[in-house]
Symmetry: C2
Subunit: 239 residues, 2 copies
């Protein structure tokens, strides 16, 4: 009896997940308002009545899709941001890999998310905005930790975090798990490599002696010299 | 008479452009199907009849918006890709700056584009896909030229091009020209710097784009950020 109950729970989860994947694909392709629950049922080869056995309606379906994606991503990144036992650069790499694998494994859900923001009910929209903010802030904390450790260049933190998010999120628009030759993990590695190289501090720029202010002043002096030389060369060229 | 005709053309263009901007903003915020032409007219404080003097209908309006954005971007990038008198790294920098400035100056139009793909008529959808493909291919050619010249790391070319597009396109989701402190040009510079560093071969501190003064200034800006952070941390520690 216990076993039968467990089997039925598993089956329920399986079907629910199929419904989520299929409706995400249809919503992303035709728009939420352009997709009826009858079409979702048809695509799954079940009746509309059977579909209602699993879901309460289109709004609930959309809310469940949105909740799953954004809140899981936010939680994963917050955990990484707080993990001080891992070096900042490695934390950044893991964050990028986590996001890209997540998106590349389920791109239609992510496309749907961006395309249907205007169609979310007030409660879901608020939750969604909060989860997006948590993700951004966690990523900013990871970048800041890297800059403080001298491992990352001090680029504008907000723009840098958004540039990273952009590289990852865009995967939803071009990667097709069923068609692409590369597995999600391979795409994730390539993007993490570009992201890390994009923000990594050059060899000479890491603070090694713990005197961050003195180090910053030293770099300023070096780079002023660099500027003077560059301006000098330009003048000489113009003369 | 000629002058009057010209003035009236200019006024027509001006109003048309206002209609495009306003409808893009409303479409992006509420969805295309969730926005009526009456609402567009109300937002512009003109009558619906006056609006029809400028546009044929909602489908035509959407088609015009889509055409303007994607085809101009594709043409600009193709021109850069073909410009062999400019060094490959500089071509890449110019491509990123061009895209980011374009997007940051008109983010709702770009958001609209992605959110309304499912609502485009067949002809517009085909044109749109073709323009997107031209943009991607031009960017891939620019990256390939950089790799051939030894200026860029030989990363997977397609993933690299999509990572660059992602950094740029994502600007439409976070940058607000009316609220943000940084002008579009500043955001474009930061993103171009991250993108170039992300793909550049060898020493990240060398000025490889031929603009030694600009590069030195970028390093100085980084130094100042680093100093501000170090001073901030020392103050926080002392408090």
């Amino acid at each position: 009896m216990a076993r039968r109950a467990r089997q039925s729970t598993t089956r329920r989860e399986l079907v629910s997940n199929q419904i989520l994947e299929q409706s995400a694909a249809l919503f992303a392709e035709r728009g939420v308002s352009g997709t009826s629950l009858q079409e979702v049922a048809d695509a799954l080869q079940i009746s509309r009545t059977a579909l209602y056995h699993y879901i309460g309606g289109k709004d609930e379906l959309l809310a469940t899709l949105v909740r799953g994606i954004t809140q899981e991503t936010a939680a994963a990144l917050e955990q990484l941001a707080a993990d001080e036992s891992t070096a900042p650069l490695e934390r950044l790499r893991l964050a990028i890999v986590d996001m890209v694998v997540r998106i590349a494994s389920s791109p239609s859900r992510f496309r749907l998310l961006l395309m249907s923001e205007s169609e979310l009910d007030e409660k879901t929209a608020t939750e969604h905005r909060r989860a997006r903010r948590r993700t951004l802030e966690a990523l900013e904390r990871i970048v800041a930790a890297g800059v403080d450790a001298g491992a990352l260049r001090p680029a504008d933190q907000r723009t840098a975090a958004f540039a990273l998010l952009g590289m990852c999120n865009w995967v939803a628009w071009w990667y097709r798990p069923d068609r692409d030759e590369q597995p999600p993990e391979r795409v994730a590695e390539t993007i993490a490599e570009i992201a890390l190289a994009g923000l990594r501090a050059g060899d000479g720029r890491a603070a090694t002696n713990g005197d961050a202010v003195g180090h910053a002043l030293q770099l300023l002096r070096e780079d002023l010299t660099l500027l003077e030389r560059a301006v000098g060369a330009r003048r000489a060229g113009a003369a």
